[in-house]
Every structure is written in C-alpha cells, then in structure tokens.
C-alpha cells in the first residue's frame, strides 16, 4: 500500500515540473515578475490596518484619493477642487465659497501633485497640499479631519503645474506657471498677437508662505523668462534654502511645441535661492504689483463656514534687479521631473527626451556660482556651465526618464515612461543596479517619504498612465493603474496592481500612525459655532424673513426635529440648517429633499450644514436621511407642506406627539 503511494508521487513530480515550465513559457509578456509570496506581503487581514496611507491626486477628477498600503484598498476620496454630491461639498452653503476664484465659481479642477507638510525634512502628518493646474490654485487639506480647509488662487499664473512642493519645515509651498502669457508692466494679460511671444510672454514662480496654523498667503513671485515651467522640488540638508524648477521650451516656441520646443539640446532647471528672496522681501525689496487672487478658507471661529477674501496685490521680485535669487542649470533635454536626494547633495532631472539621467551636484553648483562660472545668461539670469555642476550621468536609464524617488539607502528609482520600467540606480556612482517592468507607461512614482529627508524605503508605487489588459475591461476609458513594488530587498519585486480614480499624477505616502494620532472622530457639539446651529431638539425652530425661510433642524438616530413642517410657500428660499446631534464616531446623517436642485448633505456628528431648497410647486414633499444610520434608518424621514404663494398659513412644525 505504502509503496504504491510513493510510486504514484514519483510519477507526479515530472508532470508538475513540466506544467510549470509550460505555464512560465506561456507568460510571454514577462509579467511573471510577481511571485507566490506577493499575496502574503500585501494581505491585510480583516480587522488589521494598513501600515501606510497613500494619497494620490485625482488628476482630472480634481480630488484626492486615499489608499491603504500595502493592501491597495481605496479608503476615501477627499473633495478638493470639484463639487462632490457625495457629501454636498461645493453645494452646501458652508462649502460653496471654497470654489470661488477671480473667474467666479469654478466647480471642477485638474489636480496634480499632493505634498505632505514636513518638519525638519520629515513628513509630519499635519496637512497635505495639492495644486490645481487649470485655474491656478493650491489647496491645504487637514489630515485631522481629511477635509479641504483652504484654497488659494495663484495670480499671474496660467496653469499651476510645478506645485505644490514644500520646503523642509513647510515655510513655503511653491508654485510655477506652466504656460507663460503676455504680461504688461502691471502684470496684466495683454491682448497681443501670439507671434509676439518672445518679446511679451513671461512666466512666474510663486512662493506661498504657510503660517503655524496653516494659513497660506503669497509672499512673493519671481518674474521669469517665457518658458514653460514644469515641476519642482525643494532642497534639503545642505541645499535647504533652495528650490529647483524644471522648464521646457527654452526655445520660446508658441506653436507645435512637440517639434518646436524639442530643438535645444539643453533646457534649464531654475535654481531659486528662496531664503535670499525671502530676505529681500523682508527688506521691502521687489514691488507690490496688481495680482488679484481669491483665498477661501474654512472659518473655524464662525461655525466652519467657508469664506472668501480677494487680495489685489502681490510682491514681484525681478531677478534682473535682485541679484543672486535665480540661476539656470543647463539640463538635457526637455527635463520633466526634478528631484533632490535625501542627503540634499544631488539634484536629479528626468530629461524626457534625454538618453541619460543628469545628476547635478549642489556643492559644485555653489562653487560655480561663487566662481561666476557662467556660460551666458537669459533675461539677466546667469546660466551655469553644465560640466562644472555635473556630478554624473546615469547611462542606459531606460527611455523617457521622468521622475525619481529615493529609498534613503543610497538608491534612486526612476520611472522610464517610454520603455515602461522602473530603474534603480546608485546615486553616488550613478550605476544602474536593477530594473523592473511596469504595466504601462509610468509617470510619477512614490515611496512613502521618498522626497523627504527620511524615506520609508519599503514600498514603491508606480503610477501608470495606461492600464489596458490589467483588469476587466470597462470600455475605452479605464482608470489608471497603480503598482505596488517591494523595494526592501536587492531586487525589486512586483506585489500588487490596483486601480485608481481619475488620472493620478504624483502621490505621497506616510506611516498611518503619524496620521491616526491626530484624527478627529466627531465634532464637539459644545464647540459648534455655526450661526444657525441647533445643539438640542429644544433649539429647533423656523424663522421667516421675507421669502427666506430658515429651518433650524436636528438629526439623531433615528429622527429629524422637526419632521413635519407646514407654512412654506411656493417662491420661498428655504435654508435647511441641519445639525447632527450625534457625538459618536462614524455616525453621520444625510439630508435629502425631493426636487432639490443642488445636492444632498452628509453631516458629520456635531456639525451643521445648510442645504438651500426652492420649492416650485404646491404639495407635500418628503425629506429623509441618506446615510444608513441605525436599525430604524428607513423611518428617519419627514414632510414639508408647500402652500401657494399668497396663502396665509402659519408655521406649524414639530416631532412626535
């Protein structure tokens, strides 16, 4: 009996080997780079928490996606630049003002680069900033409540791409215009022929100061030649006090840029001595110029209602007049990303058309500046000699190198867009040590803390631009793919594919524990300062002011107070100010009313939100809670009676007998 079993097994063995080889052979496109323990490495058991939060920009959805790593689970989406019916952001009276701009109400956005606040060059879990390209804006999101708390518009900018990157102590968030535009002496966008590009078009780099409480204001802008400014990163360690911006189109072409802006062998990285610029500002140098822009912020003193203020001026620094704030580093060829390694010694560019990755040395750059080792100047800005500042070039880095992040162990990881791979290389000797395929066309990549002075070099996330054949196909459009790669060992190992929302550009990651310790679970009712709050059912009431009706309403599991309302008339503008009386974690209540033309509300415990409703016909209209809140959630409903405009029905309202 026993012998028979053995022989059976012996017969099986070659068959198993054969099948394995065949399967491996079938996998022609090489996606066998993942292996069997990958599942174990990304498995987060039920009830366990992910080790990292990943924040991925939503691109054209204008939001910020929050993912757990290593599971790749989508945890939350934070509305930032676009209206969100899910909770009434951008529709409710409290949040509408967040989307105000000098162009009026702009309810959508093209968000790009999230950046966590830092202290001493390390992510600190206070805020995350994100830029909006189309209507130049920068938002600050509080990680205590995962909510957009402030949005500032960038004046004299025509596409806020190289943003939002922070300095090592979050002194500044930087921003740069992607598109240069014709500007007159008063910084007005001129009505001129586009042909006049070389003479009239200018760019600006902006530095937004961040206060201890997070308040943002534009401290200064630097006037720049009419290039296209692309990406940025701040210096750190020895290079702290400097910020680096890539530019393309040093040709200053204005048509068919794919050809006309790809001619020069080298474009520039602009090195900005922001500390020196800030000193100039303190000395009152530069010029206050027209620069109308809007700042929107949640006013915590007044009930968390967003307010807008318009600022009319901005300080402009002209590098032709103020020496030593800008230098150009020649960089091959149409550089896209610019990244500074954790030691702060090296400035690495991704030349999207370059066949090498140039690595500049900060020490050499300073030396070249001191020796005035210039090869020329552009608009009064000195151009340093390429050979004088170069630390080295990474040979064979893949085609179309774009962005680089770091593991804190001396290695850099660069995405190669065209050859669809990530290339790992040694920063000191610029030798490639490993490479891994991605699926497909990676743009940015992210290592938690990977652009700070203290990376958590455990995982890398590749943010791919093309997703085809990785998931069940949904049509021509498929959301972009992120890929989680283990970088803890010598060889990179693909662990997981997961889809994202919108078109993520950059991402940031942070240890979950740094965020969890600041987390808000609910708002304290006694701290609710909303002018239309009702912090108990006894305070609920209805007030009429002409055709404006204010309903002070409360919600608690499982009823509204009041839940029967009469005395509303056609033509009234009814404001439902709904206060959620709950003081318990994860018990929001919803509010929706038939025929509402804007959105529903999702009101957090202790919070007051306001929905406007304009009844257009008579009858009785139901309202209800949209968030399944308790066993009796379905019963959480009420009615509003709407009478004709000329009726003299008095208010009648209440809950229960």
């Amino acid at each position: 009996m026993k012998k028979q079993m053995y022989s059976h097994r012996f017969w099986m063995l070659p068959a198993v080997v054969l099948i394995s080889i065949t399967l491996f052979g079938c996998n022609g496109n090489g996606n066998f780079s993942s292996n069997s323990d990958a599942a174990q490495k990304v498995y987060v058991a039920p009830g366990e928490l992910d080790e990292f939060y990943g924040f991925m920009s939503g691109g054209y959805n204008g939001q910020l996606g929050v993912y757990g790593l290593p599971s790749g689970r989508h945890i939350f989406t934070i509305p930032v630049f676009s209206q969100a019916p899910v909770n009434g952001y951008g529709y409710s009276e409290e949040s509408k003002a967040m989307l105000n701009t000098t162009h009026g109400f702009v309810p959508w956005g093209d968000s790009h680069h999230p950046e966590l606040s830092q202290t001493n060059g390390e992510t600190d879990g206070r805020w995350i900033f994100i830029n909006e390209n189309n209507t130049p804006r920068v938002a600050r999101i509080g990680l205590d409540e995962f909510k957009t708390q402030e949005i500032i518009e960038i004046p004299n900018s025509a596409g806020n791409h190289a943003s939002a990157f922070v300095t090592p102590n979050t002194e500044y968030v930087s921003a740069a215009t992607r598109f240069s535009i014709p500007m007159d002496e008063d910084m007005n966008n001129m009505d001129v022929s586009i042909d006049s590009y070389k003479d009239t078009f200018r760019g600006t780099l902006s530095f937004i100061k961040v206060s201890e409480e997070g308040k943002m204001n534009i401290d200064f802008q630097i006037l720049m030649p009419g290039f296209d400014y692309d990406l940025s990163h701040s210096g750190k360690g020895p290079s702290d006090g400097w910020a680096f911006f890539t530019s393309y189109n040093s040709e200053m072409a204005h048509s068919l840029l794919e050809i006309n802006a790809s001619k020069n062998d080298k474009d520039f990285i602009a090195a900005i001595n922001w500390r020196k610029a800030a000193e100039y500002v303190k000395e009152g140098k530069g010029k206050m110029m027209p620069g109308k822009h809007v700042r929107n912020y949640i006013d915590h003193e007044e009930g968390g209602i967003a307010k807008s203020e318009t600022i009319n001026e901005v300080r402009i620094l002209d590098p032709r007049e103020l020496e030593g704030i800008v230098y150009f580093l020649p960089t091959p060829k149409s550089p896209h990303g610019v990244d500074v390694d954790p030691t702060g010694q090296y400035i690495i560019a991704g030349g999207k058309l370059s066949t090498v990755i140039p690595v500049h040395s900060f020490a050499k750059m300073i030396e070249a500046i001191e020796n005035e080792d210039f090869e020329g100047e552009v608009m009064g800005i000195p151009v340093l000699k390429y050979d004088s500042i170069l630390h080295g070039e990474v040979e064979d880095p893949g085609l179309g190198p774009l962005h680089t992040e770091f593991d804190g162990k001396g290695y850099a990881y660069t995405t190669a867009f065209i050859s669809s791979e990530i290339v790992k290389w040694d920063i000191e000797n610029t030798q490639v040590v490993d490479r891994i395929d991605t699926y497909y066309s990676p743009g940015h990549l992210m290592i938690p803390g990977g652009d700070s002075q203290k990376p958590d070099g455990k995982y890398l996330v590749a943010l791919n631009k093309i997703t085809k054949d990785r998931y069940l196909p949904t049509g021509p459009e498929m959301f972009h793919s992120a890929q989680l790669i283990d970088i803890s060992g010598d060889k990179m190992q693909l662990l997981l594919d997961f889809p994202t929302e919108g078109e993520p550009h950059y991402a940031q990651g942070i240890a979950a524990e740094k965020v969890i310790k600041n987390q808000k679970r609910f708002y304290k009712l006694e701290e609710n300062t909303h002018p239309f709050r009702a912090t108990s059912e006894a305070q609920t009431k209805i007030e009429r002011n002409g055709n404006e009706v204010h309903v002070y309403m409360t919600t608690i599991r499982s009823h509204f107070a009041p839940d029967n309302i009469e005395g509303i008339k056609v033509g009234d503008k009814v404001y439902f100010h709904v206060t959620n009386l709950e003081q318990d974690w994860d018990v929001p209540h919803g509010f929706a009313i038939k025929g509402a033309n804007n959105a529903e509300l999702l009101i957090m415990p202790g919070e007051t939100l306001t929905l406007t409703w304009e009844p257009k016909e008579t009858g009785v209209f139901p309202f209800y809670c949209t968030d399944f809140c308790s066993a009796l959630h379905q019963e959480m409903q009420g009615y509003v009676r709407v009478s004709p405009e000329n009726s003299d029905i008095d208010f009648k309202y209440g809950t229960g007998q």
Partner: protein, 191 residues
Amino acid sequence: MKTSHKIWMAFAALLLIGIYLVPIWSIGMEAPQYPEGIGMNIMVDNIEGKEPQDLKNINGLNHYIGMKPIEPASIPELKIMPYIFGFLIISGLVIAGTGKRTLILFWLGIFILVSIAGLVDFYLWGYDYGHNLNPDAPIKVPGMTYQPPLIGSKQLLNINATSLPHIGFYISLVSMSIAGLAWWKSKDQKS
C-alpha cells in the same frame, strides 16, 4: 487609645476625601459596533461617561429599548452621598480626637450600613432602569429586561455589560480596614 491609634483613625477618615476625586463604581459596555467600548463611571455626586460623550451615546442607544435616560441631575442619591461621606469624615475625625474606641465601632457600623444601603439602592436603581421600560419603545423582545448586573458581566442583547467597583469603592474598604485595625489594636489598653 494611644496617639498612634488616634492617628490611624484620623487617617481612615481623611482617606475618604479620595471618594470625591475618583469613581466609586463603573459600568462598561461592549458591542460589535463599539469595539473600543463605551461606559460610565459613578462618582459620589455624578454619573459621567468614560469618554465625555459616552453618557449621551448610552442614552441614545437606550431609547430604542425604552429605557429612561440617565440624567445625573435628577438622581437624588447623587445629592445625598457627598453629605454622607462628609459626615463620615468629620465624625471619624471627632472620634479620633476623643479617642473613645467604642465609638469607632459605631462609626464602622454606620459605614457598613451605608455601604449595604448603597449597594441595595444601586441594585434597585438598576432594576428600575432595566424593567421599567417605555411601552412605546421601538424594540421589544418578549421577556427581555435590561437590568445591568450588580457586579460582574451580563449579556444584554448585543451588548456585554460589565459592572465593577472602581477605586473609590476600594478606598472605602481600606478606610474601613484601617478603622477596624485601630479599634482592634487599641483593645488591650485602657482608654
């Protein structure tokens, strides 16, 4: 009574000041949707949530089963108790001053009677809250009552309620023991 015994008696009385600072009893509740727990502490003059909002949330949950809301301001015992302990502290100090050891026995007797009365009252209070339910309650389970246990754990629907003495109760026990010891040690002496 020797001076040392007087000091011990005074100490036993003064120890009761601690009652005003810490909870005497505590009821904790766990449910699937409250993995972090929710609960209340019974103080000498108040009932407080373990977390500031807990009492409000307990009342919010209790209304489903028709239990009366727990409103500390309307519970007469919480108004009397501070005076009872005040009386024990002052009378204990007076007894220590006079040095009459038989009075310690009286003091202990009163203390023990008060404690038993307190526990009986607590039981009756729990009985009333658990049995005297609003007939209009949304959730009615035939035969179900919601009296929390006097001491120990009990499963009430999806909630596991645990009722245990807190530091204040143990302070009382220590105070009694010290007073008892003062009485016992001073036995062989003439007062």
